[in-house]
């Protein structure tokens, strides 16, 4: 897994590449999110368009990033879910928890 960070209109976008799995060191996302929060960022968008694989540990990582950000009064949203990832979120009722988007501009604009 590789994470790149960029900023668009006050929203920090984390572009995540590769696998988010137990074996791949999924903690990276949580760490990067915390780093952004520490830097004063409140609005975070995880771009998952280039995620090649995710397992339940990876899903858990998204959830724990979400709660971390929410607890700090920020917002975490998701961009570009693959079909499989959306299915994994749906069957564990997480599509009701996460805001997610296909279009980056729309996602960025959605932050209040």
């Amino acid at each position: 897994m590789k994470i790149e960070s960029r900023s668009v209109n006050g929203v920090t976008i984390l572009d995540i590449h590769g696998k988010i799995t137990m074996g791949e060191g999924s903690r990276g996302i949580r760490d990067k999110v915390r780093e952004s929060l520490d830097g004063g960022v409140k609005n975070i968008l995880l771009n998952l368009g280039d995620v090649s694989y995710i397992d339940s540990a990876g899903i858990g990582e998204l959830v724990s990033s979400f709660t971390t950000v929410t607890n700090q009064g920020g917002q975490l949203k998701l961009l570009k879910l693959t079909e499989k990832l959306e299915q994994l979120l749906a069957i564990t009722k997480l599509t009701t928890v996460f805001d997610f988007f296909d279009d980056e501009a729309e996602a960025v604009g959605s932050f209040s």
Binding site: M22, G23, S56, A57, G60, E61, V63, I91, T92
Partner: protein, 158 residues
């Protein structure tokens, strides 16, 4: 020369077994093996993906919870290919667990937990799942996927 590589419809299983020291570095390998075998059985791409994920989750649990990452302890995975289904056994050297102790991943108080979704996914994607604590020690999970019933993880299983 063995020109016949197709699986005959003899009505008995073809078996393949793999075992390795408890290390997460083997997860990709086992998942790819699962992909190859489910292709041989005849599952479509979607089914292969979910079977592979189920194997991955189960082996992760065996390595992690069962053998507690102790490389001296082995994880065994057995694939039984039948003409109409694939049965997969995942064995570890741990103490096992009570399935009834596993919290329901869909309960509102669990929805935002960072873990506890693995078995739930396996149950969603496979047709039959059960666990057994082996008399000789260790824990074995059995999961089955039928060929004519390639359900697409609709989450109605829990």
């Amino acid at each position: 020369m063995g020109d016949e590589v197709e699986k005959e419809n003899t009505g008995h299983a073809r078996e393949l077994e793999i075992s390795f020291g408890s290390h997460l570095g083997y997860l990709d390998l086992v998942q790819e093996l699962s992909d190859k075998i489910s292709l041989l059985v005849g599952f479509d791409e979607d089914a292969r993906y979910w079977i592979g994920l189920s194997v991955r989750e189960s082996v992760t649990n065996a390595v992690h919870h069962g053998n507690e990452l102790d490389e001296e302890k082995k994880v065994g995975v057995r694939f039984e290919s039948w003409p109409d289904r694939l049965v997969i056994y995942v064995q570890d050297e741990g103490e096992g667990f009570e399935e009834s102790d596993v919290p329901n991943a869909l309960d509102p108080e669990n929805l935002l937990k960072p873990s506890g979704r693995g078995i739930f996914y396996v149950r969603s994607f496979m047709d039959e799942v059960c666990y057994e604590i082996l008399p000789e020690g260790g824990c074995e999970m059995r999961m089955e996927k039928r060929l004519n019933n390639q359900k697409q993880g609709d989450g109605n299983e829990n």
